[in-house]
Amino acid sequence: MDGWMGQRLRIDLTDGKVEIEKLSPDYLKKWVGGRGFNSELVYHETWQGMDPLDPKAPLCFACGPLSGTFAPLSGRTTITARSPMTASYLGNEIHGHGDSNMGGHFSAAMKYAGYDQIVIKGKASKPVYIWIDDDKVEIRDASRLWGLKIKEATKSILEELGDPDIRVSTIGPAGENLVRFASITNSYSSSGGRTGMGCVMGSKNLKAIAIRGSKAITFADPEGFTKQAWQLREKIHNSPSAKKRRLEGSLDLFDAGNAIGINAYKNCSTGYMPGIEEIYGGVQWAEQFLLRRKGCWSCPVSCGRYTYIKEGKWAGFNCGGPEMESLCNLGPRIASEDVAGVNVLCGVVNDLGMDSISAGAALSWTMECFEKGYLTEKDTGGIPFKWGDIETSLKVADMIARREGFGDILAEGNIRAAEKLGIGQDIVPHCRGLEHISVDPRVALGFSLGYAMSTRGSDHLKNYSCLEFAGCAMSRKEQVAEALGPELEKEFWKDFPKQMTELKTKPALCTWSERNKCVADLVGCCCQAIGSWGGAGTWNDAYAPLFRLATGVDMSDEELFKAAERVVAIERAHWNREGSARQDDTHIDRYFEEPVTGGPHKGLKIDRNEWAWAQSEYYRLHNWDKDGFITPEKAKDLGIAEITPDIEAGKKIYKEWLEKAKK
């Protein structure tokens, strides 16, 4: 088989059964890879109301047909399971689809070992780790690794197995202690953070997966593939935004983000932090802290950082990262200006195995609760929380990971902590239980709609509508045209650059962007190259030809785009069958009522009527019904008619809820 390895590895930890399943050509074509395989499997092998931590729940790792090849940027792994972090308006006990995408080197090793997907079910009776060496799969004791942080655990496993080229995905203490937003990390510091995949792994008593392979990936048209890969590499090399990304890492987004007033500050209460460029800008950061760049598999850009702090209080501290979202959510979001300290916090949170966005959200939410008087030291066991306090944050991060004292409450995630304490629900910035990233949803309305419609709870990486930002749009006008069509394109440029704060063009932009992004996830490549810095073009000129040349599958651009739509639909169906639809596709009241307090967009808030229109328009463009449920016709058109009965059951839950709400 070309491109793919054509095998799925199934491991049951309860009885130690290992099974290798062949994937049929039809299956491969239908679901393409990565996110597609995972979302399909997790949908079909779980059911409505299932507990995400149920031993029967699957945890999937998958790579795409381009993973581990010469294709540039091909180092991404998708991890998928039902998410313990997510919730719904129906109640915090409702869970839905969750996934996380990590860089690093794990997906390449999976391919060399001969697998497109690894599915783990069951629960081991004691801590274990899985050692995969080509066809040999071994479940080994991990008692001595239990409690170790990411870096120590990885090192220890590599020493035990005696080969530094083995790739290890592991959880930290946070995953072991079932912190709801625990992450899974490979290659020491490349994390799959969001939606609590580490928590699911911890619930299976699984500390790590170590993998090594000796197989080679073959191609249907090696010559054509190589030529195409060189072309894409050259394009990236010549792209100014790729060069900027290489030099500054994703921190290059700070300057731009603050200039247009979107960077989260003080628990996302506003999108502007005065003077942030001088404090957090990518150039300054690199001058002070950059030890060396870090690259994911086959990535010529290497936007990853490695921090070394030379002087001051934290002198000598070193760690992998930070990435822009980590730095922003653990920095400006908690109103800290101490960059060195924030770097340490990023390193510590990562090493404990927690999502840095949700960890930042937990800290900043508590700080705002203190400011508003919702909480006092009495509630937190004597710990004072004030804006920008790094020392306390470091201490609390450790308490969260170990579920000690007040940390035990925060480990439940913002929305559940607020419910448990009975306060501050109005200031949890979230959709479907997952906290926002660092872009203010009142300002960048494409991102805002993306948060609400995202199939894993609030996140920008599902509807990656970067084209709404002036810089991106200016440098990629032809993509705007492709995404919007002639009429909306005119609208877009008529109001430019104010279109960012208007909803008019956003349903269409989000619809296109979510598929554009999904294609990258399917083939196993990086979305950033076709999103935030865009040096590689769009899905159809960057990844589609590579996909065809590698696999030899005769799939037109339209068919590939439709496969992306199918994958988004199956994730949406996962929510639909829980009864989650229109009511969840929205923001907390704060963003409709409280205006932005500073920066270039002071006074801005979301208009409820416009929002309702945008929701309806988004559904219309997807051929979903008026409440946001996938219609039987659409399901049939996408070749997933089997979801219809589940969705009908979900609708019933939704209608019952509506009637109750009316009363």
Binding site: T69, K155, I236, L291, G295, W297, C299, P300
Partner: protein, 176 residues
């Protein structure tokens, strides 16, 4: 000394992305696997340090001397490669190489090493794949020292410049 070009390695710029291995593997085998690559990245990932190891085509190559079959031969480009027709796969070249650079071809068990991509128009593919990082460069052999030394000199530049000015000031003072 023969006029030729060599690959210069600067581990400080290596990001551990393995693009060079992928380029080498696809060039020579039309497949992708790090085991098929003649350049190997040695990882010390816990301290984020990566050292690319490849055949540097020594002027006085020990592998040529040690090979019992005379299978290690020098090409016109200066590259030292294996004549697979006579190679036994005894691995003596690997043991004797100070860098451990030759790699065993997993498909036939014989030693293989960098052939500088046989005068391919693109030059060595690993170097080309590393263009953005610049950890690998392909330079004239007499420029090798200048290239390596310049990297070191660059780091000294900032520190050295002010001292130079000061020394000059002292000298002129004693003259006056």
């Amino acid at each position: 000394m023969q006029q030729r070009k060599v690959i210069v390695i600067d581990p400080d710029k290596c990001t551990g992305c393995h693009s060079c291995e992928m380029a080498c593997s696809i060039k020579h085998f039309a497949k992708c696997s790090p085991l098929l690559s003649r350049i190997q990245i040695q990882e010390f990932r816990d301290v984020n340090t990566f050292i690319p190891i490849t055949c540097v085509a020594c002027e006085d190559a020990p592998c040529i001397k040690v090979c019992p079959m005379g299978a290690r031969i020098r090409l016109e480009s200066g590259a030292v490669v294996t004549n697979e027709d006579v190679c036994l796969g005894c691995r003596a070249c690997i043991y004797t190489c100070p860098f451990g650079a030759p790699v065993i071809d997993p498909e036939n068990g014989k030693a293989m090493s960098c052939d500088l991509c046989n005068d391919d128009l693109l030059g060595p593919w690993c170097v080309k794949a590393c263009t953005m990082q610049g950890a690998l460069q392909f330079v004239d052999i007499e420029k090798c020292s200048k290239t390596v030394g310049r990297g070191f000199a660059y780091t000294l530049k900032e520190e050295y410049a002010p001292q130079a000015v000061q020394k000059e000031a002292e000298a002129s003072f004693s003259f006056g």
